[in-house]
Symmetry: C2
Subunit: 295 residues, 2 copies
């Protein structure tokens, strides 16, 4: 069998984004971790990590990590069946990547009872919906919620439904920029809110209104900060309908064009041989997601 001491070192360095922190987590010296990685590289005959800040797995390193992730999930099952194996008696952990807007809205409501009932601890990783799959491919997470349907090798994807995004701004913002009523053509000269360089929702919205090219915008890489900036009149932006219920009800945010929204489909990606716990969580999400996401 593989030497899992070496593979665990690789997983720790990648997951903790550095040798120093990996050593802390493993309870080893940094040079011991370094030795294990070198030994692993000697065994596989090629580098498994690019020594950058943070260290990045090579192609072969990614395949090894993917394998570690799957073995961990299988170990979890076995611990459930043979409790004595679980030396530390610790609750089970699931490492999951998801987009910030899911985490800010429906995620906790959907999984709260499941995690409590099954004693699961979550290690959540926030990734843009378009890049979360990279974490799966790298074997760093057991599952991910993201915007692409196509599963990575060894995994399955389940459609959860779509998040509906509404173009919102404060009434003061609308009054200031559109005193004579909303004019779509002026939207490019009106400050928008953009989550980050990978967020193209506002671009899509403008393109659908026939507006191409650049537009004024703030960058705000925080789901909650985005909402706060909209409320305080800094810009207009596409906000999950789920997140703005209170604001829409109280009128602190209003829709720019009530008949025009963007639905972003979300998929649950999980390892095919991910064990019973992951499979149960998948079934749970399949039943629950429709309470928050649109069909």
């Amino acid at each position: 069998m593989f030497d899992y001491k070496l593979l665990s070192a690789l997983a720790a360095v990648t997951e903790q984004a550095g040798f120093e922190r990996a050593a802390q987590v493993l309870g080893l010296s940094q040079s011991a971790v370094s030795q294990r990685i070198k030994l692993l590289e000697a065994r596989v005959g090629q580098p498994v990590l690019v020594r950058a800040t943070p260290p990045v797995p090579t192609e072969i390193g990614r395949r090894l990590l993917n394998h570690v992730q799957q073995v961990r999930l299988l170990e979890r099952d076995l611990q459930g069946q043979v409790p004595a194996l679980d030396e530390e008696g610790m609750p089970q952990r699931l490492r999951i990547a998801l987009n910030a807007d899911s985490l800010a809205t429906w995620w906790a409501a959907a999984v709260g009872d499941f995690c409590t009932a099954r004693g699961v601890l979550l290690d959540l990783v926030v990734e843009d919906q378009d890049v979360g799959l990279k974490r799966m491919r790298a074997g760093e997470v057991a599952a991910c919620v993201c915007g692409s349907e196509r599963p990575v090798a060894g995994a399955r994807s389940l459609p959860l439904g779509a998040m509906r995004y509404l173009a919102l701004a404060s009434p003061g913002f609308v009054e200031r920029h559109f005193p004579d009523g909303f004019v779509a053509g002026q939207l490019a000269q009106t400050p928008a809110l953009v989550y980050g360089p990978d967020d193209l929702l506002q671009h899509r919205y403008l393109a659908e209104l026939g507006i191409e090219g650049g537009f004024l915008h703030h960058l705000c890489p925080s789901s909650e900060g985005f909402l706060r900036m909209a409320e305080h009149g800094l810009g207009w932006g596409l906000v999950p309908a789920l997140q703005a219920r209170t604001q829409l009800a109280s009128g602190t945010l209003v829709q720019l064009l009530p008949e025009r929204w963007i639905d972003v489909p979300l998929y649950w990606h999980h390892w095919r041989h991910g064990g019973q716990l992951l499979s149960d969580l998948t079934d749970h999400l399949a039943r629950q997601a429709a309470r928050w996401l649109v069909a």
Copy 2:
């Protein structure tokens, strides 16, 4: 004078975290950006970037970036005085690093009117309060809100006040884990919420209760997600009092120990020669921050 075409290329590669995106922003080919970096390195006689993913500035690279940041701030002033210089007629941009909890709570309320009145667009970068200063030192941001008082060379720090964090959980969570009343000693066996590996607030809280060592926890690197997870009974955690007002009022979250909280002081770091706009924003924050932060 320096060749600012070359320095802008360095700034773009660092700020955009890659050559490809830097090229897009600069409207150049990727090889042109690469050429500019190489030319800059030939001029200064040493590497300015470590070619990692993402590229990381070297010590000399950081000093150059710091200089670029300060020149940009001075240019902004000049554009205000000589509007014709501002070729594109674009609003002014300020790039600011701040902690996620500030962005999720008081930030937009504090700066909204200022940015609207002065036509400022914000490029916000979310950094843990203990690491935001690295962005200043690297010359990547004009200012930052963070937890350390000591300014970097060329900058000043202004105390803004402190964010108060309360240890909160849902009533169901408290009932489930402490059916016979709260017992501090049992807290380590009760799932906590931790924002990420750099978040030591829960550790501090436990240490102040005399509990040392590890404790059960979820990892949730999202300010809003953290609150959602507490509301849905996944764990207890330290939440900004500002963020949980509604939940405390409605009783969906309760304090574990009403007389025990943690105050985290925040400082505004800004370049000393950062120009009039940054200096006005600093004065504005000095007057406003006390509305949200405690003395």
